[in-house]
Symmetry: C2
Subunit: 370 residues, 2 copies
């Protein structure tokens, strides 16, 4: 009997060779740009063992929560960017890590916060976030605020960062390369304004997985941040950032009910185990709440997908015009669900069951919550 | 300074008087029906202290995961229904609890599973799930399978259960009462067929929060299951199951960026802290990813809502035609987000910060994962 039949379901399965392949692909993409380093974003994996592969030797990383910052610092990943706008109530937690030997950099786009950082007694190196077109956070590169914030930060100003999150709307390698170039030019323009005012800009941190993979020219950028590339998902596979076979994380689930009259089965992976993310809704192929693969992770189930979710129930049907092979799906049978958006699906679970060549080789915990 | 300014954000806040009011309302709704007991569903709260209020004295409860079953059994809640279709791989875990003194009942609608239950050496009392119109799981009441499954279960057959999940699509008290009556009649019809075949049907378990609250007649039903009523959310408030003021759970968040040019702020509660549930999408009032209230939980912010989420970012804007009071929302300011669907939002967090009369009175852990 395979361990795939005995793991408690629902649970996360992480294919180690796929993870390593994804990490190697990004590493060589970045290696094409001399002087540019990769600062992997650990918000997707949230795991120390994955960080050791993506940022070998305690390399520079990006984090999205204080919980990640603390755990990764404890495990030797000292050079971090905490890439969510900082608030004064979180200063002390970051400064405490820095007083213990970490170099956690925070980010802001707010003048009042910059002044509070300058006045704070503990070490808080700070990047200013620049909006390069995503329209989420950041100062516009031509906004006078940019110079005011840098001046307010004084010696705590450590550089500029941007997030090209809008690159996930790209649908071709050329579109992603264009967005990467737009981000580069915008960030360099902001840096030029600061440098003209006599302010040194040491870090120029850009990125998102699509732009990190497909940028043609990163001259002037010092580092790229990217995270989802390690794991992959059904949206990424349609952005051409990786093939379908390079989705490293799936949810193992059990069939809990079989309904021949409507050509459906229920599985024990529902809204909690998969998330309600519908990232593929606007993609060329909409996989509803996830694509359903067989126990081994192969697409042999008639393009099956999770069509509906309740808290602990997922309804599985085949794609239109295809029949679900119900004879292979008795109650108790195991299937794997490839996620729409791996960051959200992985976050529903507390551990990875790590698989290599058909064997369970490790269980790795995730750093969930805040 | 209020504890609401010092709790780490994002985090869950549970208003204890509101919780108690919601629990009391359901208890009196059920008390109108002699012979019917309430078996609270703990899948929303997933917490022992809440169970002690909803099912006092270690009363009967419903659970949705083995993790819940184990923890509640350990804390004296012995009479449980594990209300997700059982699979053979989970038999041993349930039987182990029952051998330690619990009475955890499982559910199925599958003949092969029923046979496996009958052949299993440990104690597995089983309810057959009947489809009363939801179209998710369950045997149709007139399907010959019903008698076959009951016969296969033999002495392990403990009764019938159904879920009127489609009652959440109801928009009036009359509609919910009608669905409750339809569920009652369907379940009694199924029981009559079994009884005519000489099979005793001791438990007739029905429910969902809307039908439990508004059923007019529950004659013949032995118990009602309901869970979300304890906590409340923006969808429930529009189903007339409770007023807006009876949402007991909110997410406390901090403003992390302010963007006057687009009349928006960012908060540190995004897709992970709120979930991507969009239950209000089809409701009369669509609150996108949640309604934004002030620090005290009052709706004084111009009908603000979370319009967009990224993993750790939520974008807050006012309703159309209304202006967000940006002067009251500097970076660091605290707000509360009322959830679209509390089951999903609460599941993103590992604990409740319990508040009573403006004071933090306890921190209660949740039983997350499986």
């Amino acid at each position: 009997m395979s361990f795939l039949d005995t793991l408690p379901t629902p649970c996360l399965v992480l294919d180690l060779p796929t993870l390593k392949r994804n990490i190697a692909r990004m590493a060589s993409a970045i290696a094409r740009h001399p002087g540019v380093t990769l600062r992997p974003h650990m918000k997707t994996a949230k795991n120390v063992q994955v960080a050791a592969l993506a940022a070998p030797g305690g390399g520079a990383i990006t984090v999205s929560t204080l919980a990640e910052a603390r755990t990764f610092a404890t495990h030797g990943f000292r050079d971090q960017i905490y890439a969510v706008g900082i608030v004064p109530a979180k200063f002390a937690a970051v400064a405490a890590l820095n007083l213990q030997g970490a170099q956690v950099k925070v980010i802001t786009d707010d003048l009042d916060v910059a002044r509070a950082i300058a006045a704070f007694p503990g070490p808080l190196p700070t990047l200013i976030e620049v909006d390069v077109g995503e329209g989420r956070a950041g100062v516009a590169p031509d906004d006078p605020l940019l110079l005011e914030i840098a001046a307010a930060l004084g010696p705590r100003f450590a550089g500029l960062m941007s997030h090209s999150g809008h690159s996930y709307a790209g649908r071709s390698i050329a579109a992603m390369a264009d967005l990467a170039e737009q981000e580069r030019v915008t960030l360099l323009d902001a840096a030029a304004r600061l440098r003209a005012a006599g302010i040194a800009v040491n870090i120029l941190s850009a990125g998102a997985s699509p732009t990190a993979l497909y940028a043609k020219n990163l001259d002037g950028i010092t580092e790229m941040r990217a995270g989802v590339y390690m794991m992959g998902d059904l949206l990424q596979a349609q952005l051409a950032t990786h093939p379908l076979a390079d989705i490293a994380v799936t949810v193992l689930a059990s069939v809990i009910g079989r309904y021949p009259a409507r050509g459906a089965v229920l599985i024990d992976a529902g809204a909690l185990a998969l998330s309600k993310d519908r990232s593929t809704e606007a993609a060329p192929r909409d996989w509803r709440f996830g694509r359903v693969l067989d126990r081994e992770g192969n697409p042999t189930l008639g393009d099956a997908m999770v069509t509906r979710v309740h808290q602990e129930h997922g309804e599985v049907r085949a794609a239109e015009g295809v029949t679900l092979p119900l004879d292979r799906l008795p109650v108790g049978a195991r299937v794997r669900v490839a996620p729409n958006h791996v960051c959200l699906t992985a976050a529903a679970h507390d551990r990875y069951h790590v698989v290599e060549n058909g064997a369970l080789v490790a269980v790795w915990p995730r750093i969930n919550y805040w």
